[in-house]
């Protein structure tokens, strides 16, 4: 049989944009040989709304509610990232309590994101929603906390340059402490359901291996990178905010497959709980939740005219490095407002991980990357 005859046997399938497990409107142009993938081209943009353009027309503060909609699971971290970049640009000091509250919110976000992502991953594997619903059950508790603090469950719009918009209501911290105390019980249950399960291990181990060097070269970040064994956590490397005050570890995988990414997330949740415990213990109300300059910014966004210049602020969002690149020309609106979206850039390497695997594997590899289309398409 000649080569062309062989090629003629390839089957081209569009997985998505309307497909149960592409996490939104994501499309994979897959070429199959039997069930083996020989080519995969991701197609994105269905949710594109030119967020950056909107950001360049709005004031710095007015971009916050839009960042909520980037990675709609992690509104708090997105706010945090933008606030960090604006602080860098405008030289705004952050109040002590504001820092603590931000870190608490960011780590709670990490908990809910990782739990939900693991649930989605299992859904992609064909579990009938059970792990996902367990994760959502816990997520609801965290969202209750978010609602009590910010007024909204998902679109929090809470973190501001200089701190957080409002202090948390009385009793909130105790509620958070209770949650942190109870969360490990859920994690144990979750692990009993998943970690040792032979079916899950069959499905995920040695599937979608991402070698260390390639991971670095492809700008992979977050659990995807650390699953491959690269010790790079921006909370440690940059030591932004008050992270250097807390003792926590960075879990690293060894093989770089789907299972490693799953388990790194579980371990990261446990580390996040450690950070939360420390933060909830150390936090005090000696300072306001937002610094005076930040408060002025909240009250009158148009008075904030940062000096000409540029800043790149980044945080370790649950999905990876979330960066905001701001260029100021001295007006109340940013001249350039660019987002380095972790889900988007982590997708670069999808094809390499999927080649030679089965269709079913491609789905769970995509699930293990952890993308949210709101962030990919912006």
């Amino acid at each position: 049989m000649s080569q062309t005859e062989l090629d003629a046997k390839l089957l081209e399938v569009n997985l998505g944009p309307q497909h149960p497990s592409t996490h939104g409107v994501f499309r994979m142009n897959v070429t199959l040989d039997g069930e083996t993938i020989v080519k995969l081209k991701p197609v994105v943009g269905y949710l594109h709304r030119n967020h950056e353009q909107i950001g360049e027309r709005a004031t710095y503060i007015a971009s916050f509610p839009f960042t909520d909609r980037l990675d709609y699971f992690c509104a708090m971290s997105n706010n945090f990232g933008l606030a960090l970049a604006i602080e860098k640009l405008g030289g705004i000091a952050v109040s002590e309590r504001g820092e603590y509250l931000r870190v608490i919110m960011a780590e709670l976000t990490r908990l809910l994101n990782h739990a939900a992502v693991t649930g989605f991953l299992l859904n992609d594997m064909g579990a009938f929603g059970t792990p996902l619903l367990y994760a959502f059950r816990e997520r609801e508790k965290i969202l209750d906390l978010f609602e009590a603090a910010s007024g909204s469950r998902m679109m929090c719009n809470y973190v501001r340059p200089g701190g957080v918009r409002q202090d948390v209501p009385p009793g909130w911290l105790d509620q958070a402490r209770r949650l942190v105390e109870e969360f490990p019980r859920f994690l144990d249950e979750f692990e009993a359901l998943l970690t040792e399960n032979e079916i899950i291990r069959q499905r995920t181990q040695r599937v979608g291996i991402l070698p260390k060097e390639l991971a670095v070269n492809a700008s992979a970040t977050g659990p995807l990178l650390r699953g491959s064994g690269v010790n790079y956590d921006i909370r440690k490397v940059d030591g932004y905010s008050i992270y250097p005050r807390f003792s926590f570890k960075v879990p690293l995988g060894t093989v770089g497959d789907v299972y490693d990414r799953y388990y790194v997330r579980i371990l990261e949740m446990r580390e996040s709980l450690k950070i939360l415990q420390q933060a909830l213990k150390e936090i005090n109300d000696a300072s306001p939740a937002i610094s005076p300059k930040g408060l002025a910014l909240v009250k009158a966004p148009r008075t904030f005219r940062p000096p000409k210049g540029e800043a790149y602020g980044r945080i370790e969002a649950p999905k990876g490095e979330l960066g905001f690149y701001l260029v100021s020309d001295g007006t109340p609106q940013p001249y350039r407002y660019h987002i380095r979206a972790p889900s988007f850039i982590n997708l670069t390497i999808l094809e390499d991980m999927c080649l030679g695997q089965k269709v079913a594997d491609a789905i769970i590899i995509l699930g293990s990357i952890d993308i949210v289309m709101g962030e990919v398409d912006r």
């Binding site: 007015a62 009590a148 209501p169 359901l193 032979e198 909240v298």
Partner: protein
């Protein structure tokens, strides 16, 4: 060395436990064999029961009036219109007479038209943050479903007006803060005629 199948059985155990936890007899059974169990049902049966929202829960904004509906706090300064990220606020005003002089009600200018397109509003609360007069606040009503997109979701001034009492009722602590702020402001601006209070040495 683990035995093949143990992980599978463990998983089955977790789901069975959750299954039993949703029934009273199941909980009795679990407790009888020494497994602590709580009510496993977490669903809120929506139309019959509703979630208890926290005080800060926000949905769409409304306009606050003090005693009578024409005594609204809004002076039509249009800051919220300008700052609204999705640009869903539309204000015409302040009201003027034929000569172009601003009309006043209760000593304040007021908007002729104040529309908010709730289909566009994203409940971000920025209008509340920027309002210098505490004239706009966030409501916690959320059942606004409507079969048409542009008609019933554009709220005009009359629909948006709600009393300060109502605000106090839904958000007591926030209302108290606002009242304190307004009182302080009034104390500062209102009495130029009165003799000044003896200066407080601690205030800078």
């Amino acid at each position: 060395m683990t035995i093949l199948g143990v992980g599978v059985l463990k998983g089955l155990g977790v789901t069975l436990k959750t299954f039993l936890e949703t029934y009273p007899w199941g909980r009795v059974l679990l407790r009888a064999v020494g497994i602590p169990s709580a009510n496993g049902l977490v669903t809120i049966q929506y139309p019959d029961e509703r979630q208890q929202h926290s005080e800060r829960f926000r949905y769409f904004p409304f306009l606050v009036y003090d005693k009578t509906p024409d005594d609204l706090r809004c002076v039509s300064c249009k800051i919220c219109e300008q700052e609204c990220p999705p640009a869903c606020i539309h204000i015409v005003g302040p009201a003027k007479d034929e000569q172009g002089r601003p009309l006043k009600a209760h000593g304040r200018t007021y908007p002729v038209k104040f529309d908010i397109d709730m289909a566009i509003c994203m409940s971000c609360r920025i209008c509340v943050d920027v309002c210098p007069f505490d004239a706009i606040e966030m409501d916690n009503q959320y059942e606004f479903a409507s079969p048409d997109r542009f008609g019933r979701l554009v709220f005009d001034k009359q629909q948006l007006l709600k009393s300060a009492e109502y605000f106090k009722q839904i958000k007591p602590s926030e209302a108290a803060e606002v009242d304190a702020r307004l009182a302080a402001k009034q104390a500062k601006t209102a009495p130029p005629a009165k003799p000044a209070v003896p200066p407080n040495p601690s205030s800078a």
